[in-house]
Subunit: 191 residues, 2 copies
């Protein structure tokens, strides 16, 4: 049986029998995506939830004045979509692009509902996944309050060592909520 990263991810929280694994594999859709491809465009409805088998992605928003902000990053073993759009079938507030050649596993809304029905233990899996995602967002709000830009930049490098070389300084700055100029002065102090 082919080894998928996604099983390691799932088995952090639930265990699957061989039959359940086989069913899960039968509904998997794998996509190999080139570098710098848009997999979700802001304004369109997000119809897919992605798991990153390998590679990395960036989610960003362009506001009314045309200013782009990087909101999320996803590396191997992460899940990503515009969840607001995916759940509510409303226009996405984010675009998502690959930062390098990536292999994604995609789930559409109907497939997920089928999965919940057929294997209810996936309710538990996604309950824990969303619980952790919610906690992460809360910690990000608190990090912004509690830490200096210098500390947050250091934490960013520690958290995403494999991504630092794949994004621009401007993208890191907007992810940290500061101007590129300010980030540049912080980096000079650190070096």
């Amino acid at each position: 049986m082919k080894e998928y990263q996604i099983f390691k991810n799932i088995q952090k929280h639930i265990s699957l029998s061989n039959t359940e694994r086989e069913f899960f594999i039968s509904i998997l859709i794998e996509k190999d995506i080139a570098k710098k491809e848009i997999v979700l465009e802001q304004g369109s409805v997000s119809s897919k939830l992605y798991f990153v088998e390998f590679g990395s992605l960036r989610a960003f928003n362009v506001n009314e004045e045309g200013r782009e902000s990087t909101i999320m990053l996803a590396v191997q073993d992460w899940w990503i979509t515009d969840m607001y759009s995916f759940v509510n079938k409303k226009p996405a507030l984010l675009s998502i692009e690959t930062l390098e050649v990536s292999r994604l596993i995609e789930f559409d809304f109907i497939m997920l509902e089928k999965l919940y029905k057929r294997l209810p233990k996936f309710e538990r899996f996604f309950r824990i996944l969303f619980q952790n995602a919610y906690i992460r967002e809360q910690l990000r709000v608190l990090d912004n309050i509690s830490f200096t830009t210098e500390q947050r930049y250091t934490r960013f490098i520690d958290k995403y060592p494999q991504i630092v070389k794949k994004v621009t300084q401007k993208q890191i700055a907007s992810y940290l909520g500061v101007t590129p100029e300010f980030l540049s002065s912080v980096k000079k102090k650190l070096s």
Copy 2:
């Protein structure tokens, strides 16, 4: 049978049979809390998840410099805790206090795990709850990017009409991530 607000909340996402309702009621712990009581203290481990039957609460963080920031608000029909602390059994990063006389229903971690085992449909309920909480946090990040303080203040009043009179201007300002002086100048422009 006594009518609980919490059943309306739960039945938005799952339906309970009479037997299931009875079991659920048998494990419910109701607490009436006076105004301005601390129900969770930053630094201690959060052992309870609260549902607000009526009343309102505020969650805040005090950083190393002693600066207090209001992070979350909860009104009737909302859930609140320091989820990071509750799940990981780590010291809470937030304190939570009642803003008025409130009736809370409390769940501890072990009780919740029992509930998931006995009535697995609660996995679905909390999966949807955390999914929505995650989406809300994401929208808050995007709101900060997309809207002016003026727009965000107006949206805050629309969202929490019942809470505006119960919190100080300083607390609203910190929730919106601006100084009280700046909020005051924004309000003058609006009036």
